[in-house]
């Protein structure tokens, strides 16, 4: 009962956040300097008529919102315009149909392009996150358990340093080491031109290409998870119920497993969720360094080519993914922490 209300509330907030992101996304591109139509037209050989044609094609000739022809509040226009015939509603309407506009750069629907890349990014982020979480937490548990010993200090120093590394810098160094000494592929997702006899071969190829990006990703994010795990676990381990468990004659391993970890997981889940937004930063850099065909690389390309619909779409997709991931984490949290039910 109460959990259902908690869930409903979280879902509600997620939807509201998405709405906010959509609105922000729309206005960002219109408030900031630069004509969105002009932005797509880089070739000075295009005629004024052609520019106007593009404006019409992208709906940019319509008023921004009902009364405003432009975002300049001085320039109010006719208020009897059909509100559904304004840029904002056209935009939202298109969104609802899964249309994110046409890329200025490739002339393809942004949604299609993003979908192709989304899975690649999810693969990279997913694998990297899982490894970083598992390794980071293991290291954190080890450090907390051996608090104030050489093991702890070593792990701490390693994690802090790993956290401080600029992702792209680590990536480029690993790229050179990995390709020169370990014969690992330099970039891409597949070895182009290869004929795969089975899908296992194909996946092995993908896996081989994933090693370096994942390694970079893992190192960069492992540090933070380790630090958090260590400190929450230290907190949890100094709680009285740990002493109770110890007094019950329960072995250290079982205490860690049954009592400490589950309680320490609570802040971890929250932080992992909040961290998801941050992981995108890493993904952009890693995908660019390793030419991984994902959303991050797409953002890099789009930035370079000033492909605004693409940027807009990628940002929206990433934001929505992160919002949903957060929602999932919240729901997972409610499952982990029985106190949620009565909050």
């Amino acid at each position: 009962m109460k959990r259902s209300r908690y869930i409903a509330q979280k879902v509600g907030w997620a939807l509201l956040t998405i709405l906010f992101v959509i609105t922000l996304n729309f206005f960002l591109f219109r408030v900031l300097p630069g004509d969105p139509a002009r932005a797509g037209v880089r070739d000075p050989r295009l005629t004024r008529e052609a520019v106007e044609a593009i404006r019409v094609r992208f709906g940019l000739d319509k008023p921004v919102i009902n009364c405003f022809q432009s975002l300049n509040p001085m320039e109010t226009g006719d208020c009897f315009i059909n509100p559904l015939d304004t840029q904002f509603f056209i935009y939202v309407g298109n969104l609802l149909q899964g249309e994110l506009g046409i890329s200025y750069h490739t002339n393809r629907p942004v949604a299609d392009m993003l979908m192709e890349m989304l899975w690649n990014t999810l693969l990279l982020i997913g694998l990297g996150q899982i490894l970083a979480i598992v390794l980071g937490m293991s290291l954190g548990v080890l450090a907390a358990w051996k608090a104030r010993t050489a093991v702890d200090h070593g792990a701490l120093l390693f994690s802090l340093t790993a956290w401080s590394l600029p992702t792209f810098w680590l990536g480029i160094i690993l790229l050179f080491i990995g390709s020169s000494y370990w014969g690992l592929p330099i970039g891409g997702r597949l070895t182009p031109g290869t004929v795969y006899n089975t899908s296992i071969e194909r996946w092995l190829d993908i896996g081989n290409h994933l090693i370096l990006p994942t390694l970079t990703y893992t190192i960069v994010f492992l540090g933070e998870y380790m630090l958090i795990m260590r400190s929450t676990l230290l907190d949890v381990l100094s709680e009285d119920y740990i002493l109770t468990a110890k007094a019950k004659g329960i072995s250290t391993f079982q205490i860690l497993k049954d009592h400490a970890l589950r309680n320490a997981m609570l802040p971890m889940v929250t932080i992992i969720a909040l961290n998801l937004g941050f992981t995108v930063t890493g993904a952009i850099q890693i995908e660019t360094v390793f030419s991984w065909p994902g959303l991050g690389g797409a953002i890099f390309t789009a930035v370079n080519r000033r492909d605004y619909p693409m940027l807009q779409g990628a940002f929206l997709l990433i934001a929505i993914s992160v919002i949903f991931a957060n929602l999932a984490a919240d729901l997972f949290y409610s499952y982990l922490d029985p106190r949620v039910e009565d909050s």
Partner: protein, 317 residues
């Protein structure tokens, strides 16, 4: 009886013993010194054009250029020293903006509560979920990549964590009885915030600022990497950007990459260590537990209240 030391001095006494924090502070101070005295320290002025030849480009380290030269034949050491300035300016000012916004939002939300808090924190939650970096990229790409824009954009988007932290700290300070006492003696909101809330939230804000600096520095370097920095300003990120786009690795000029990269690591690590150290001193998380060493237990068993100050008193005596 001799007058006891003021809080700042007793803080320093404890902090001095915190190895992590001290190392971080030294690292950070060193970086600041390098930045401040750049003109005196740098063998050349990287902003001053000099005549170079092909042989000067990516020249390996030599007595004339201890860190070698970069893709424009400039002395890497000098750029490195001057680069500290921009990296630090971005770090400090962006985090200053973030922390001021976060502090104001956090304190007002935490202190006034009610609808204001609800609104502010919901907004914070929304901003917290939105991935920062793509938005930073977007905004910098949409505006023009000048140093000021970068600082403002990084600063404007970095406040969420500060706001949450400050709010929760404000809430916990507000719960403490001395705030109720201040109310009981008839103090107004402003007085309470100024005299009781702010001074006690301040240490946390300082810790947070230090950590936000490291994030801002990392963000600046990532922006540079994406080609979204001001190319006329030499920062470590900018140096890396030139090294990447102009093939330092392929040319075998590792020195052009290593110095600025390590500079960033140095600065970020310094901030992180200092932040962690400060946090340990100001809010001694117990580095110990029932399965291990225990100063909290010891403190409790030795009759000390479980208050940070008490624990400090034990180790400080």
């Amino acid at each position: 009886m001799s007058p006891s030391p003021p809080p700042i001095r007793s803080f320093w006494r404890t902090f001095r013993r915190n190895r992590m924090g001290m190392v971080g502070a030294v690292m950070l101070i060193l970086a600041v010194l390098i930045a401040v005295f750049a003109p005196a320290l740098a063998p050349y002025n990287p902003y001053q054009p000099t005549r170079v030849t092909i042989d000067d480009i990516y020249a390996p380290p030599s007595p004339a250029h201890p860190f070698g030269t970069d893709d424009a034949g400039k002395d890497v050491l000098s750029s490195f020293i001057y680069g500290a300035r921009v990296s630090l300016i971005v770090g400090f000012f962006a985090s200053f903006i973030s922390v001021v916004i976060g502090g104001v939002i956090g304190i007002s939300a935490g202190f006034y509560g009610g609808k204001l808090e609800n609104g502010l924190m919901r907004f914070t939650d929304i901003m917290l979920v939105i991935p920062d970096f793509p938005l930073i990229v977007l905004l910098v790409a949409l505006t023009k990549p000048s140093l000021l824009n970068i600082i403002v954009v990084i600063g404007l988007l970095g406040w969420t964590s500060s706001a949450r932290l400050v709010r929760s700290q404000t809430l916990s300070v507000k719960q403490r009885k001395f705030v109720l006492r201040a109310r009981a003696i008839g103090a107004g909101n402003f007085h309470i915030i100024r005299r009781h809330i702010f001074p006690l939230v301040l240490p946390l804000i300082v810790v947070n600022t230090v950590l936000v600096i490291s994030l801002a520095v990392l963000n600046e370097s990532a922006l540079s990497f994406l080609g979204l920095s001001d190319p006329t300003k030499i920062s470590w990120g900018q140096m890396l950007n030139f090294a990447f786009t102009r093939g330092a690795m392929s040319a075998g000029a590792w020195w052009a990459l290593v110095a600025p990269g390590l500079g960033i690591v140095w600065l970020v690590l310094g901030c992180t260590l200092l932040g962690q150290g400060l946090e340990q001193v100001l809010n001694p998380r117990l580095e110990t537990h029932h399965l291990s060493v225990g100063s909290k237990m010891v403190a409790r068993m030795m009759g000390m209240k479980e208050k940070p100050s008490e624990v400090k008193a034990v180790s400080g005596d």
